[in-house]
């Protein structure tokens, strides 16, 4: 059984399970949720334990690999998980194949744009001059 295969052996024989595909998405959403469990906790704990949240302190924090790398991962996995999650909401509540496609595409484009902006900002902070 591959990682994305959600059907049981009996289910395969009886033809029960995802109508087309979907096991992969289901697994991917859970993988990203476990990753966010760690990264989200790290993010909140970091904000909590930083002595101050002024520009100098957060810049210094994100200038080093210990801040920049987990933050980049947090950004990527957050946007990925958001796209997965919002897709479930769209697929559940939006009627019509065309409307669903339009919403899901819009969300995907916005998420890629948002994640790119975040990574650009992070790069500028991490590779810029130390304050």
């Amino acid at each position: 059984m591959s990682l994305g295969d959600s059907a049981t052996e009996l289910g395969k024989v009886e033809g029960i399970g995802s109508a087309r595909r979907g096991g992969e998405d289901w697994i991917a959403e859970r993988l990203s949720s476990v990753a966010l469990l760690l990264l989200g906790t790290w993010f909140l704990a970091s904000l909590l334990f930083l002595p101050k949240l002024d520009l100098e302190t957060v810049t210094e924090w994100l200038h080093g690999a210990g801040g920049a790398v987990p933050m980049a991962l947090f950004v990527i996995v957050s946007f990925w998980h958001a796209v997965d999650g919002l897709k479930v909401v769209v697929d559940d509540y939006v009627t019509g194949e065309g409307n669903r496609w339009a919403w899901n595409t819009l969300i995907l484009f916005l998420a890629v744009a948002g994640a790119s902006l975040c990574l650009f900002a992070l790069g500028r902070i991490a590779f810029g001059a130390a304050s």
């Binding site: 520009l55 950004v75 909401v89 559940d92």
Partner: protein, 131 residues
């Protein structure tokens, strides 16, 4: 051949009696959508503000420390904890555990108690109540 019709969409909220499990299920979606849209927008702005320097960061902190900004940030914190705890509950039920009526109800209530409690403690700390 039968005409192609839109399949029914779920769920039909009005016919169910409300309970903690249902409330938590709905909250998981609402907080997920809120974190995806508002949360990631704030995160993007914050990172851009840090990379933008003194003036950009000052604008961010000015808005964030305004009472409307604080309400949004406190709301996002609660949404984070609610989605986190409810997400952990989902991962547990994905394994097939926690479906006994009493356990399921109790775990649903605990996610709400936990999220409110964690939000209160965290913001009491941020707003300097422990100093």
């Amino acid at each position: 051949m039968a005409a192609v019709r839109d399949r029914p969409i779920s769920p039909h909220l009005t016919i169910w009696r409300w309970g903690p499990h249902m409330l938590v299920s709905i909250l998981h979606r609402i907080t997920g959508a809120g974190l995806s849209v508002v949360g990631l927008a704030v995160l993007t702005w914050w990172l851009l503000a840090i990379s933008g320097g003194t003036a950009a960061y000052a604008t961010f902190t000015k808005v964030a420390s305004h009472w409307i900004g604080l309400v949004i940030l406190i709301g996002l914190t609660w949404a984070f904890f609610q989605h986190l705890f409810s997400g952990i509950r989902h991962l547990v039920t994905d394994t097939g555990m926690g479906f006994d009526l009493k356990v399921n109800k109790l775990s649903a209530i605990l996610t709400i108690v936990g999220s409110v409690l964690c939000t209160a403690v965290l913001w009491a700390y941020f707003l300097g109540a422990f100093k």
